[in-house]
């Protein structure tokens, strides 16, 4: 392990000195090019004082795929798994590492979770540590908060993010506030997670995007995972964080397969991910829309465009550093999100970008969001409430004109 650090010592220096991503050296591959990733996933310190919320003392890393010129020390091939398995792996590693980590939610115990994220954990750690709760979201979220204030690190699972609307009182009034109002005496290191987003005909009540409702709550952090790699890393980071973190997963992404490293890695909660570097336009997206964007990107590349795709990952606070660097390069911004048009993440992001980077924009920001309607059950209608690749292609063409 030490040798890996030494090898990447030079690379670290390079990362910290550059203010923008050197696209030739560091290519964070998208899901398509997983096989190209080298085995030497290493621990690179996300250093630099201009990183938002950087904690030099914490080993938060941003593993970077290196090219063949750096010799792969201790090369392990990595292992392939699905996104829900990656979440489970992250969860299990943290439960192994820290006896205070526990899970609570509906059907997480013997049933293994409605999306199998906690499968097998109850058998391994007992059904007190992986706790099945009655159907009382506000109460068991409150329970998790109480347990966190008195020393545990609970992970509260909402069977579907939409159910956490019932827990809004506890999340907003207590989870977000108690660290502040108690004068810092009591901390609440909970992780609230669950699948959200528009699925395949789940009906309006089970297709909600709660990130837009939660984003105003002071005191919480929000992250959205989109690949097995970042799912595991963000899960581990969220568990280790002393702040309450809401981890948004997406119902349709649970079966994504990817090869992830064998070594332990933890991602930074406040960092965005460069999916595809480019020159012409910055496309900001997160969660499932990342895949729609990448699909559109294929089409765009064939048409001669060079979009830069960033998966913002951190929904609160925004990684304005990465986003800003991208805007300074391309001067055009397109936001593609699954939230509703009104009051969604895109709306906040638009405001933040306009405030901070107005001078660098050549055109007004375009924000593609879902329609302001309850998600219909009919498959075709449901498809057209969310943003589709052709719309993204059209928007980019319009922007770049």
């Amino acid at each position: 392990m030490a040798s890996i650090f030494q090898v990447i010592g030079a690379a670290t220096a390079a990362v910290s000195s550059s203010t923008s991503f050197d696209t030739k050296k560091f290519q964070l591959c998208s899901r398509r090019s997983v096989s190209e990733r080298k085995s030497s996933f290493v621990v690179v310190k996300a250093s630099g004082s201009n990183r938002i919320g950087s904690r030099a003392d914490q080993l938060v890393t941003n593993a970077v795929a290196t090219k063949a010129d750096t010799p792969p020390a201790a090369s392990k091939p990595g292992h392939e798994l699905l996104l829900f398995e990656a979440l489970r792996e992250g969860l299990e590693e943290e439960m192994e590492r820290d006896a205070r980590v526990c899970v609570m939610g509906e059907d997480v115990g013997h049933y293994g979770g409605s999306y199998k994220v906690t499968k097998g954990l109850a058998d391994k750690y007992g059904d007190l540590r992986v706790l099945d709760t009655p159907i009382a979201e506000n109460s068991f979220t409150g329970m998790g908060i109480g347990a966190a204030m008195t020393g545990l690190r609970p992970i509260i699972e909402g069977m579907n993010m939409g159910f956490l609307l019932l827990a809004f009182n506890q999340i907003s009034n207590n989870c977000g506030m108690l660290h502040y109002t108690s004068g810092g005496q009591f901390k609440i290191p909970v992780v609230i997670r669950g699948p959200g987003g528009v699925g395949r005909q789940l009906g309006a009540e089970h297709s909600q995007r709660l990130e837009s409702y939660f984003q105003s709550i002071p005191g919480i952090q929000m992250v959205a995972c989109s690949t097995p790699y970042n799912a595991k890393g963000l899960m581990k980071a969220a568990i280790r964080s002393d702040n309450p973190v809401i981890l948004f997963e997406h119902v349709l992404l649970y079966n994504l397969k990817e090869r992830i490293p064998d070594e332990e890695y933890v991602l930074n909660l406040e960092e965005a991910e460069m999916v595809r570097p480019g020159e012409h336009v910055t496309i900001l997206t997160y969660s499932r829309m990342r895949y729609h964007v990448m699909q559109a990107a294929k089409t765009l590349v064939n048409k001669g465009y060079d979009p830069e795709v960033i998966d913002i990952r951190s929904l609160k606070p925004f990684d304005l550093y990465t986003i800003g660097n991208s805007i300074k390069k391309t001067h055009l911004v397109l936001i593609v999100e699954e939230c509703m048009r009104t009051g969604g993440i895109g709306a906040s992001l638009t405001a933040a970008i306009n405030e901070n980077f107005n001078d660098y924009l050549d055109a007004p920001i375009v924000c593609l969001s879902s329609q302001d309607v309850p998600t219909p059950y009919a498959g075709t209608l449901e498809e057209w409430t969310v943003v589709q690749p052709p719309q993204i292609v059209a928007a980019v063409e319009q922007l770049c004109r």
């Binding site: 938002i52 919320g53 904690r55 526990c102 007190l128 540590r129 706790l131 709760t133 009655p134 009382a136 506000n138 109460s139 068991f140 979220t141 409150g142 329970m143 998790g144 908060i145 109480g146 347990a147 966190a148 204030m149 008195t150 020393g151 545990l152 609970p154 009182n169 506890q170 009034n173 207590n174 506030m177 108690l178 660290h179 502040y180 109002t181 108690s182 004068g183 810092g184 005496q185 009591f186 901390k187 002071p218 005191g219 952090q221 964080s241 002393d242 702040n243 406040e270 606070p317 925004f318 304005l320």
Partner: protein, 480 residues
Amino acid sequence: MASFCLTKSRSFIIQTLKSNKTSTNRTSYIHNNVSSSPLPVSEHAYYSHKNVSIVFNHSFKSIYVSRRLHSTTSVDELPAEAPLQQVLDFPGGKVKFTPKLTFASGATKERVHCYRVLDDNGQMLTDSDSLGINKELAVKLYTNMLTLEVMDTIFYEAQRQGRISFYATTTGEEAINIASAAALNNNDFVFPQYREPGVLLWRGFSLQEFAHQLFGNKYDYGKGRQMPIHYGSKKLNYITVASTVATQIPHAVGAAYSLKMEKQDSCSITYFGDGGTSEGDFHGAMNFAAVMEVPVIFFCRNNGWAISTPVDQQFRSDGVAVKGKAYGVPSIRVDGNDALAIYNAVSEARKMAITEQTPVLIEALTYRAGHHTTSDDSTRYRPVEEIQRWRDDQNPVKRFRKWIESKGWWTDEAESQHYSSIRKQLAQAIQVAERIEKPPVADMFNDVYDVPPKNLTAQEALLRKTVKKHVQDFPSDVPL
């Protein structure tokens, strides 16, 4: 009787299943299983092995169907003689059948009895169950109750004079505050509503510390961020008060869960009023605590009023104690103005909670002799005579004083001495707290997260700049 039922049911099952043409595998399996041993009749049959539960489910379905639809079931499904079923083996335990169509009344014939140790005149009832308490403890209980009473009066007056912005008294509930705290250990977690500063007082929070919080100065542990009376102390295991009603009840259950996980020899306790029991959080938490079997004490201060709502408009059950039965939580009703009764009940409840790992519900009947808060005038919705009666006759401080005086442990002289000493201390505390400066503006952005993120530091810088630019528009006594 049971075996008779089982024999009958066994043949019945096989017959029914065969006639329903279930798969041969299942039928033969069930046949083997049933013929080898009787049906499981444990309390928790539904937890049992998956295969056995198939047998169980089928037996349940077939018995139930036959009893309900005997007139409509086809002849070949019914056995030759109808089985004489007295008991249904249902998840959670056996249930006896009855041919009588009677509804259980919503009202109880007799209200749950209320446990008390001292009578109205402070004399110990001869046949009461009571722990012996020595002079030292009795005097400590009394002096704390008196201190609390005086503290409430002085701080209330201070609010009326405009020195503090807000206050809520615990007048009438001094016994609940002090006696319950006395029965606990210092490492038991306390999750208060907002009318329990006495618990902090008992544990050693000083009058000066109370004053600091009320004035929101820089020595306030909450760093001036919360309203007055929203005390909190990590050191004394008293979780900061939040204004939201009943949200602390599930927190207490969570804390009890953490104690159970870490196998600690302590419990958690949460206080709430009669009004708080209407909130959904109360019900979810009670239910959950019973299912999880965690050491938590639910202490309901039934003081008759939720601001202006009397209890008969809050619920129609026999108070709160009966709700314990509904959730499977052992419960007791105590006289909330009897310090000894509360002390005994909480001591016993604590022992029970920890050794048996069970939640316990205590309903203390008392009266909110003061107004809801300083923003309320309760004479507008309740008769002054009623308030006066409770302040005089049922005053918990007076009752307990009568008792310790009868034991020769307290005198008038001690009373006046303590009374004036506390008054002096309070006046001093207020004076000191009033003069200390408020927390700086910089503190406003701390503790939102463990480390301030960039957007918050930017906001703070902007605010600082604005304040410096328009000094005259901002309060001068708040440092930057």
